[in-house]
Each structure stands twice: as C-alpha cells, then as structure tokens.
C-alpha cells in the first residue's frame, strides 16, 4: 500500500542532482502541485525526463524558471522560449528525442528490456552515435532504456492500494513513467477505498505506486 502524504512531505523525498521523470503533455496531465512544490524548494541539478517543458512559468516551466534543471531529455521545447534560451546560454543541456522513441525508451526502462530497434530517426541527426542494425533488410536504430530515481505523475482517481485511473488525454506519459522509476509519486484528484475501482478498469496497477498525494485543486 502506498503512503498517503502531503505534497511537501512527498516532494521532500526528491534530492538535488537526481533524475526525475515528469508526466504530462503541454501541462495537460502534469502533476502541477508536485512540480510547483519542487520548484519552490530550491532543489538544484535535476535531470528531467519529460515530453516537453510546458510553457513559461507553468507546468515544468516552473522548474526551468527556478533554475532547478541542468539536464533535460524531451521531445519538444518550442512552447517554452525560456528553455531554448537557457540551452543557448549553456545553462541547460538538452537531449531532444523523437516522442515515440522517448516513450518507448521509458517503457523499456520499466519493462526490463535492454533496448529496442526503431526506424524513427534513421538518416537524421538522431542516428548520430547510435548503432544501426538491419533486420529483414530494413535499417533500425538501437535505442536504449531510460530510468529515473523519481517519477512524478498525475492521475485522476486512486484507491488506497495505489491503483490509478487517468482522465481523457491527461493520461499520456503517466502510466509508462509509473513503471520506470525507483520512487513513484502520484498526484491524484481523489482517493477512494479499496474495492471501489473495477479491477478491469485500472490503468496503472497499484504495485507501481509508492506515494499518493492529493491535488490541491482539480485541474490546477
């Protein structure tokens, strides 16, 4: 059973210098309460793995503005000019990864696989430094797993066992990141009793979740 903690108790577990996966897509499905608290605490030297950095001052943008992030692995940073500026200034090191490759690398990390072969990126700068492997006459890149010390994810509902439901397109990277970190903290809008969720409908089994926190407000 996961621990049910306050946002500040939960975020206190995230140490400076650690690697943190953060769910969400353009702030939709981002655990905003956890991210805001992390930015507020003045933690430094984080490596963040996320699809994007939201927009300036919102979502993961809060962590960028706080200068908490020194390394970023993401598929898109165009919607947050501050991320680009910090990259150009050399204050932030950015690895850009195709979105499908990014989520699959995280899945590999969670699924105990050593890597996968993808056709995405062949013949582009993404292929640089990577092993090319030919299977059945087609060339693929060998992409390797990503794991994190902590995953900060956002769900709609949880039960006390940590079973999670996501809502609408706020699901995105959250279920995959829940598999790929040593410590998984889920920010949820509602916590129900064990037995209230239909086991057929659970999207993330509770065995992946270590800590539950309640969102301060819905869609905040």
């Amino acid at each position: 059973m996961p621990a049910i903690l306050s946002i500040s108790e939960a975020v206190a577990q995230v140490k400076g210098g650690s690697t943190v996966m953060i769910g969400g897509f353009m702030t939709c499905g981002t655990p905003t309460g956890l991210v805001a608290e992390l930015a507020r605490r003045g933690v430094h030297g984080l490596t963040v793995i996320a699809n994007d950095t939201g927009v300036q001052g919102n979502g993961i943008g809060m962590l960028i503005s706080a200068g908490a992030v020194t390394q970023l692995i993401a598929s898109h940073i165009g919607t947050n000019p501050e991320t680009g500026q910090r990259m150009i200034d050399g204050r932030l090191q950015v690895e850009l990864v195709p979105q499908g490759t990014l989520v699959e690398r995280i899945r590999c990390g969670g699924a105990g696989l050593g890597g996968f072969l993808t056709p995405t990126g062949v013949g582009t700068v993404v292929a640089e430094g990577k092993q090319a492997i030919v299977v059945d006459g087609r060339t693929y890149l060998l992409e390797t797993p990503l794991r994190a010390d902590v995953a900060l994810i956002k769900a709609w509902k949880a039960d006390r066992k940590g079973n999670l439901l996501y809502r609408r397109s706020a699901r995105n990277f959250n279920p995959v990141m829940a598999m790929a970190a040593d410590l998984v903290i889920a920010e949820v809008e509602e916590i129900v009793e064990v037995g209230e969720l239909d086991p057929d409908q659970v999207m993330t089994p509770g065995i992946f979740v270590d800590i539950l926190v309640r969102s301060v407000s819905r869609h905040d």
Partner: protein, 224 residues
Amino acid sequence: MTEEQKRMIIAHRIAQELSHGDVVNLGIGLPTLVASFLPPGLDITFQSENGFVGLGPDPAPGEEDPDLVNAGGKPVTIMPGGAFFDSALSFAIIRGGHVDVTVLGALEVDAQGNLASWMIPGKMVPGMGGAMDLVVGAKKVIVATSHTTKDGQPKLLKQCRLPLTAAGEVDMVVTELGVFSISGGSMVLHEKHPAWTVEKIRALTEAPLEVASGLKDMVLPVGV
C-alpha cells in the same frame, strides 16, 4: 494570393486525398485546417498523438476541458466512438502503420522525399515532437506547405539543407501552386493552380520538375 487563401487552397486539396475509413493525423498549424474541408459523409478518424483517436471540432466557448487537448495543447473534443490511450500505444499506432495518412508542414522538402521541419541550427530548435515517428510510420505522408518562403525562396528543393525529420518518406507535396509526387529524384507535377503556368511554377521550384502526362487543374475551394 493572401496567406489565408494559400492555406485554404492547400487544406482543401489535401482533404480530397482522404478516403472513407482512413485514420489520419494532422500536424498543428496549416494541416489542422484540412479537417474543415472534409467532404460530408466521409468517415475519417483523426488521431491525436498525445493519446486518442476520434479528435473532434473545437469545444464551444466555456465547454473546454483542460484534460482534453490536442497535440498543440489546445482544448478540443472527442467524437462518439473515440478512445483514449497512453503515449506508448499512441506511438505504436503511429510507427506500426496504423495511421493511413499524416499531413505535416515543412521548412524544406526535396526531390528524394526528404523532409526538414523541426529545426534551424543556431536559430530555432523546438524539437521534433512526434513528427519523426509520424513521417516514418504513416502509410502515406503528405506535406502541406506554401510553395516558397516568406521572402520568395523555393521550399521544394533538390536536396534539403536543414537537418532532416526523415529521409525518403514523403509521398506527396501540396502547395498553393500544385500537387506533386516524388519519383526517381524528381518532383512530378500532377495538378496545378488554374491561374499558373508550368513554367511560372518551375521558376519557383528548385527541385527537378517533371510534368505528369495527365496534368490537371487543381480544384480550388469555393470563394478562393
């Protein structure tokens, strides 16, 4: 032509390429406009790479749901019979050939079917997002682009100069001046804007240009 007219011509023409039952992913910006020109009664399922099929029209004001956005982060709706999923399944759908048609914008596209759309070194590095997977994975890749840059330079090139999104994956290019396929290192003009001659189009095209035997006029949207 105004920029708005160009966009309408391109989006309208691409809408004619979609077939009953197709699963289609539209890139943000100009490609999104394609949905406005669908022939009535056509059963098209739009995929949104952030995690669902059945992307519907914009919500009525006040009806926005912050948990339901498109790949540009804008509030949208889902059609009856749609389905949500996580990003892993979304890109399994995309890379696995389950998207019939993807429509994307371009910075440059060339006669080898190469596309450059995601960065200008030293200037603009937004990232590739889902574009690299879409171009590699979709069964048919249609590039939707103005024929030239804002300062009149060709965007249909012999060879892309910017970093590629994917190599040799583009099937069709639609601009406000014509409809092109890629074949043996040339772009082949199949349809042209009725008011333009082949020679005038050639003058604005860097890619080697061939003209298909059955060259036709593009059908323009009503009112353009």
